[in-house]
Each structure stands twice: as structure tokens, then as C-alpha cells.
């Protein structure tokens, strides 16, 4: 099993500019430290229509209401900062914001993984002797002897598709066939309930028990933490 830099195609070159946008890093930093409800706020705002922050404050009383953390506390400041960053992403227009959201989930995954293990790399392919090379690179890999990992990242449960599941399962099987081990999984910035119904429909003949699913409520598990 070998990890290899993916050759960038046209899409990847354009996407690299989005990945490098400071707004992506800012959102990922805030989300990495955030609670589940703060992450849900970001998901709703980045996919919403309203641009008035007060609308979103009203919608999330746990973060901004009477019982929320007091103004000036780190938790409240993070809620406000996440709201502001999410509105900036939402303001980018439909096509661009879709790419931004994907890049944010990837950057968040990278940060959380790096808290637990490493080295973490982005956009890498995995090659196995005697097997055809995979088409798509993995969004995040952990290239550690004896404890390698490969993760695909999705903004929503709808992004879970049969080809993604098959590629992950093929990589896992490839590692086993070489006498090795590769943890494979999906990181989805959406509720586990939605991910599970999607996974069951899209799995086909794949035994999904071999594929880890990390949904929005469980993102802290990537970092080896309990969910906040």
C-alpha cells in the first residue's frame, strides 16, 4: 500500500484556490473548537437564504437566547464568530458556496484528525500492487505505519453515493489483501440519522460495517474527544 500525490486536473486547480481561502481556514478553526449546536448553526446558515444575523440568533436560543452563554464568554464569542463566518460563506453565491462548504468540511476533518494522529495529508491517492489505480484522491489520509486511515468528506448525507462507498471498501480490501490494515470512513457534516438512511440505500453489495461513519454529532471522535 502506497500513498501518492494526486495529479491535479482542471477542477482541482480551481478548487485549490477555494481551499486556500482564509475564510475556509477561519471557519474550520472555529468549527474544530465548536459544540454540536454551533456546528449545526454553521450548517443551517451556510445553506440558508436569510442574511440577517438576527434571524439566526432567534432560531438558535441555546446559543443566543436567555439561557445561552453570557456575552463576552469564549463560547458566546465563538457562536457569534461562527455566525459571521457562515454568513460570509452563504454570501458567495450558490455555486461558490457549495465548493466552500466542501472545503470547510475537509479542512475541519484535517484539524480534528491532527489532534489525534498523523501525519495527515490531503488529496492523496492510495495504490496497491496489482490493482488499478483509483480514480479519485481521498480528501484526508493518515499515513502512519500500521494505523493508516483514508477519509472522504461530505457536506451533506446526499453526497454519500455508491461509488464513494465502493472506493472506500475497495481500499480497505486492498490493504487487507496485502496483509495490512487501512481504516476507511466518511465524514459527513450532517445528522447521523440522515446519513444512515442514505448509506443503507446506496451501499449495494458492500458490507458497510467496514466503513466508519462520522456524522455531525460525532465529529469530535475524529480528534479522539467525546462529543461536546
Amino acid at each position: 500500500m502506497r500513498f501518492q500525490e494526486a495529479k491535479p486536473d482542471g477542477r482541482a486547480v480551481v478548487y485549490a484556490h477555494i481551499q486556500a481561502d482564509p475564510l475556509v481556514a477561519r471557519a474550520a478553526d472555529l468549527l474544530a473548537a465548536g459544540t454540536t449546536v454551533q456546528r449545526l448553526l454553521a450548517r443551517a446558515v451556510m445553506n440558508g437564504e436569510s442574511t440577517d444575523p438576527e434571524t439566526w440568533r432567534t432560531m438558535f436560543p441555546l446559543l443566543f437566547g436567555a439561557a445561552a452563554a453570557a456575552l463576552g464568554t469564549p463560547e458566546r464569542d465563538r457562536s457569534e464568530a461562527l455566525l459571521a463566518v457562515s454568513l460570509q460563506v452563504a454570501d458567495r453565491g450558490e455555486q461558490t458556496r457549495s465548493q466552500f462548504r466542501g472545503a470547510v468540511v475537509e479542512a475541519l476533518t484535517e484539524r480534528l484528525l491532527a489532534e489525534r494522529t498523523g501525519p495527515v495529508r490531503r488529496e492523496r491517492r492510495i495504490l496497491f500492487d496489482g490493482r488499478p489505480a483509483e480514480i479519485h484522491p481521498y480528501d484526508a489520509t493518515v499515513e502512519r505505519d500500521g494505523a493508516a486511515e483514508a477519509w472522504d468528506c461530505k457536506w451533506g448525507a446526499r453526497g454519500i453515493k455508491a461509488d464513494v462507498i465502493h472506493q472506500l471498501d475497495d481500499a480497505r480490501a486492498g490493504a487487507v489483501s496485502e496483509g495490512g490494515k487501512l481504516l476507511v470512513g466518511l465524514v459527513v457534516f450532517d445528522a447521523r440519522r440522515s446519513c444512515e438512511v442514505r448509506l443503507v440505500r446506496e451501499r449495494g453489495p458492500v458490507a458497510i460495517e467496514g466503513i466508519k461513519l462520522i456524522a455531525l454529532e460525532g465529529l469530535d471522535r475524529l480528534a479522539g474527544r467525546r462529543p461536546a
Binding site: N47, T55, F60, P61, L62, A191, S194, V197, R198
Partner: protein
């Protein structure tokens, strides 16, 4: 008189139905939409069954009203599918429930 949990769950289910109708034109996702409707509808109804008569938590009434308005603004069917997953999570959070 303040709303109880059952009132707010009913409001969330109405908003959810609006989104499901908006999502209908995406014919290759009909099964997924039906699946989301089944599992999230059941989750919300379970909250109503368990806590329906309870007074809604502070801020939840206004939160659900704002959420319903936001859902009604969604006109793109693809975004509506994404919101079919988002709306119940936001509603449950406002009611003090996990997804």
C-alpha cells in the same frame, strides 16, 4: 399562553412538509426524500408523544416561527432536500433535544 412542545412539533412538521413538496421535482431523489420524511417525522412525533404537554423551552416558540419562515423561503428543490435534514435538527435543538 405559551406554546407547548406538541404545538411546536406540529409547526416543525408543517414546515417539513413544505420542504418535501419543494423537493419533489428532483425525481431521482424521491426515495431519499421519502426516507428522510419517514425517519425525521418519526423522531419529531416521538418528542411530541413524550413531552407534548410540556411547556416549550424559552425561545423555542420564536425559534420555530423563524425556522418555518426560513423553510418557506427555500425554492430550489436541491436545497430543499438538504433542508429536509437540517430543519428537524434545528427544531430538535430548540426544543432541547438531541438529533
Amino acid at each position: 399562553m405559551s406554546a407547548n412542545v406538541a404545538d411546536l412539533v406540529a409547526r416543525a412538521l408543517d414546515a417539513f412538509e413544505v420542504l418535501a413538496v419543494t423537493a419533489e421535482p428532483v425525481s431521482d431523489e424521491l426515495q431519499y426524500v421519502a426516507d428522510l420524511t419517514t425517519v425525521w417525522g418519526a423522531r419529531l412525533r416521538a418528542v411530541s408523544a413524550a413531552r407534548g404537554a410540556e411547556e416549550a423551552p424559552a425561545g423555542a416558540d420564536a425559534a420555530l416561527a423563524a425556522l418555518a419562515v426560513e423553510a418557506a423561503k427555500i425554492t430550489d428543490p436541491h436545497r430543499a432536500i438538504d433542508w429536509l435534514s437540517t430543519l428537524p435538527q434545528v427544531a430538535l435543538a430548540a426544543l432541547g433535544e438531541a438529533a
